[in-house]
Structures are given as structure tokens and as C-alpha cells.
């Protein structure tokens, strides 16, 4: 139920509606695009493949945003530590200087 892999549509099969060839790390398979007909994908799009059917288009934008969020993890904490180091804290939640190692 759960094993679904991102693959890139390398071409749409000309004489077979709804079928595209998808590639995952050099492995190719014909995939049925029938579940994405509301916004038909085209060659070059990335889709999520499950049991030979494309379930969803993968949004590169959302993936990049997610990576950005992940990169930011801990950054606000680091910024706080730096601020404390300058003695600029207002709340008394950590009176000690920022001696914590990351």
C-alpha cells in the first residue's frame, strides 16, 4: 500500500493514451497516468509511482521549500544563543551566558 517511488516521465507513449514511460535511476517502466487526467502530466514531470500507476505530481517547489525548512531547523535556536551571548536577552528564561555547545 505504501511503496511509492518518485520517477521522471521520459516520454508519453504516442499510440497509447494515458501511458507514459517513467524512469527511476535508470530503470524504466510504462506507467498508467490515468489518475492524473485532471492535470495531465508531460514529459519531464516527476510523478509518484505506485503499482504501475502515477498517483500524484511531485511539486519541486514544495520539495525545495521543505529542504529550506529543514535547513532552518535549529537556526532560530542558534540565533537565540548568539543573542544571549551578547547579553541582549530580555526574558529571564536563561540567565547564564550561552555556554552550550551545538
Amino acid at each position: 500500500m505504501c511503496l511509492a517511488i518518485p520517477g521522471k516521465i521520459v516520454n508519453l507513449v504516442p499510440d497509447q493514451e494515458h501511458i507514459g514511460t517513467v524512469e527511476v535511476a535508470g530503470v524504466r517502466r510504462k506507467v498508467d497516468l490515468g489518475l492524473l487526467q485532471e492535470e495531465p502530466p508531460k514529459a519531464g514531470d516527476w510523478v509518484l509511482i505506485h503499482v504501475g500507476f502515477a498517483m500524484s505530481k511531485i511539486s519541486e517547489q514544495d520539495a525545495l521549500e521543505q529542504m529550506h525548512l529543514l535547513q532552518m531547523l535549529g537556526e532560530s535556536e542558534l540565533a537565540m544563543q548568539e543573542v544571549r551571548g551578547y547579553g541582549l536577552e530580555e526574558d529571564g528564561d536563561s540567565g547564564a551566558p550561552a555556554a552550550k555547545a551545538n
Binding site: 500500500m1 505504501c2 490515468g34 505506485h50 503499482v51 504501475g52 500507476f53 521549500e65 529543514l70 531547523l73
Partner: protein, 377 residues
């Protein structure tokens, strides 16, 4: 691999793991249920439990369609395969699942025509290429997989392929979650929501969990960073006293789901009034069957089905493990009578059932470490 490797980046994993430690309250014991069998598998495959602090406990939910399939249904499907003309096709996951008289692979060894397919479309192809045979597709899976079966049936009908049928065991995830939450012993803080099921049904179907049960839900992807980020999001909600549904798997899961997929589901399937879930008992409106318009392709109407009911031995405590009340190792049969090689209950049957996953990964690790400690002492 694109959209896979980035989400396994060690530096980011370290960051996420630090954030989890920062956010978790050391005086609190968190119990998060991951519903999907695929999440259970990922947690073990990526060794995520080694990265999480010990006060975060992951409880494995009922989202394993192989595990919750009653043995009687396998017996019924294999009864059809006794006919020499019938080719029994199913996903690899089903092949070693024991029925009362053996698994599909064991039936194959005894002469039945049993074949693995990667896709229901392949089963339909098989039917087209073998007009003298009857191809039966033994369908399993939640809402992730059901639309593919539905679309295949639509194509079979449109193309007039008569020697193809589906033995439908598709189940729906929300009633399974409800059954867990309805249990009086249930003690869960939050849910790591289904990832791929949500690409079809979207995130709305989980809103009642947040609203009525006041438990946070984050629909999650399957890579290590996805799971860790989802845990970060759950911890943030709990810290702020919130309970809402959030979508961590945005790059793939649309909030409103996949309308085309939902349409084909409605076209081909209808809900059964009730269906038995192994380990959980009968749950109403929790499974799909073919509509009358597709009766011709319904294996249950084409072939005589014995309607076998098999009850698991009382000693098998699958239900309690499924609900997170017991840990796998606390079931009396675990590790002695019930192992992955000879499974007695639902959760040992598939490699991502709680007990099988626990056995293959943690139990053996713990036993091996204990052996080493013993021999070193």
C-alpha cells in the same frame, strides 16, 4: 535518486534530531502512532529509533493491508485457484501469507498457477495475452492502491476483456483509525498520518481526530527527514497545546486529495456494510466491493466462494498490539510459537506488521547484543 536522496541527508537528519531533543519535554513520555505499514517499515529500515530520544515511543498502527486480511479470505481466493484454468495473480506481499492449507507460493508448488504481478494492469495484460485462461487478481491495499484496481477494471470493461476478474479485499483507513481510538485502553498522544493514502483521500478525512479526539495529526512522507520533520511538527503542536491536521508531505499530498482517483473509486466500488479485520474484528463501512455495473468482473460473483471464516488462536493478542496496548514482545506467542517463519497472527505475517518488523529488527538486535554482553562478561 532525485526526491529521495535529499531527504536522507545526514547533516539535515542531525539537525532534525537535535530539534526533536530540544522540543521534547524530558518529563513526558510521548506515544505517537504511525498508521501506515510503510512508515513502520521505513522506521526500521532507516534505524530511526536509534536517533530518537527514549521518551518518544512509536506505536505501529493497523495500516498494513496484508496483516489485517483475515485468513479466511486467503483461503477463499486460493479455493478459486484450484481450478486449473484459473491464474491467481497478486502482489509479492501476498505470496508467503499463510492460508489454512498453505500460502499462495505453497499452492504454486503443489501445481496451482500462481503468479506475482507488480501492477493490476499487468494482470489485465496477462488476461489479454492468455484468452484461454481465467485471470483473477487478488486485490489488497488501502485507498492508495484501490484506484489502480478501479481504473484497471474500467479498462477491462471498456476493452471487453471477459477473462479477467478481481477478488476485492480493499479496505479504507479511517475506520481502522477509528477502531483504534474507540478502544478504551488506547493511550496515544498524536498520529503520524498516512502518507500515500493521503495522496488519494487528502488530509480532510483526519480532521475529526484533531477536532473530536484532540490529537495532532501530521501526514508524513517516507524518507528519514520526512518522518523526523513530522515528529518535530507533532512536538511543536503538543508543546503549544494545539491539535490540528498538518501536511508534511506537501510535495506529493494535495490537501483535497486526488479528485480523479476518488472519481474512479466511486465509479467502480461501493462500501461493504461491514468487513472483518484480522485482529480488530468486524468494522462497518470499512471495505470496498465491486458495484453491480462491474458484477461480471467480480470474482466473488463469478466463482463459488466458500466464505471461510478462520479465527486466530485466543492466545494471539494481535488486537491489543495493533491498538498499542501491548508491545509485540509482550504477546505470549511472540518469538516462540509465532515468528516470521511460522506466523500465527496477523502482525507477524507481513514484513511491516508490527511484530514482524519488531522481530526482524529490534528483537534480533537486542538478542544479539545480549548474547555479546553475556559472552563478554
Amino acid at each position: 535518486m532525485r526526491f529521495v536522496d535529499e531527504f536522507r541527508d545526514p547533516e539535515l537528519i542531525a539537525k532534525a534530531s537535535d530539534e526533536i531533543r530540544r522540543l521534547s519535554d524530558p518529563n513526558r513520555h510521548y506515544r505517537f502512532m504511525e498508521v501506515c505499514g510503510g512508515h513502520t517499515h521505513a522506521i526500521y529500515r532507516f534505524g530511526l529509533k536509534d536517533i530518537l530520544p527514549s521518551n518518544i515511543e512509536l506505536i505501529h498502527g493497523p495500516g498494513c493491508p496484508v496483516c489485517v486480511l483475515p485468513m479466511g479470505r486467503i483461503d477463499d481466493g486460493l479455493a478459486v485457484a484450484k481450478d486449473a484454468n484459473v491464474v491467481f495473480t497478486a502482489f509479492g506481499d501476498m505470496m508467503r501469507v499463510p492460508g489454512t492449507h498453505g500460502s499462495p507460493l505453497e499452492h504454486k508448488a503443489r501445481g496451482a498457477d500462481v503468479r506475482i504481478v507488480y501492477s493490476p494492469a499487468d494482470a489485465l495484460q496477462l488476461a489479454k495475452r492468455n484468452p484461454d485462461k481465467q485471470i483473477m487478481f487478488f486485490a489488497i491495499g488501502f485507498e492508495t492502491t484501490a484506484p489502480s484496481t478501479a481504473l484497471t477494471l474500467m479498462r477491462a470493461k471498456a476493452e471487453g476483456v471477459k477473462n479477467f476478474s478481481v477478488f476485492c479485499n480493499h479496505v479504507t483507513i479511517v475506520p481502522g483509525i477509528r477502531a483504534i481510538l474507540d478502544s478504551p485502553d488506547m493511550r496515544l498522544d498524536a498520529f503520524i498520518g498516512p502518507g500515500h493514502v493521503s495522496t488519494v483521500i487528502g488530509c480532510r478525512p483526519y480532521e475529526w481526530i484533531a477536532r473530536t479526539e484532540h490529537k495532532p495529526v501530521v501526514t508524513s512522507g517516507f524518507e528519514p527527514l520526512d518522518l523526523l520533520q513530522s515528529i518535530v511538527m507533532l512536538l511543536r503542536q503538543l508543546k503549544a497545546g494545539e491539535a490540528k491536521v498538518e501536511n508534511q508531505y506537501k510535495r506529493v499530498v494535495p490537501w483535497e486529495g486526488n479528485r480523479a482517483a476518488l472519481k474512479v473509486l466511486a465509479e467502480v466500488f461501493q462500501l461493504r456494510p461491514y468487513f472483518e479485520w484480522r485482529g480488530l474484528g468486524f468494522i462497518s463501512q470499512s471495505a470496498l466491493k465491486l458495484r453491480d455495473e462491474y458484477a461480471e468482473w467480480d470474482a466473488e460473483r463469478r466463482y463459488p466462494i466458500p466464505g471461510t471464516r478462520v479465527t486466530d488462536p485466543k492466545a494471539a493478542q494481535c488486537g491489543e498490539v495493533l491498538k498499542g496496548v501491548l508491545k509485540p514482545a509482550q504477546c505470549k506467542l511472540f518469538g516462540n510459537k509465532c515468528t516470521p517463519e511460522h506466523p500465527i497472527g496477523a502482525l507477524m505475517v507481513s514484513s511491516e506488521g508490527s511484530c514482524a518488523a519488531y522481530y526482524n529488527y529490534e528483537h534480533r538486535k537486542a538478542a544479539a547484543m545480549a548474547n555479546s554482553a553475556g559472552s563478554a562478561a
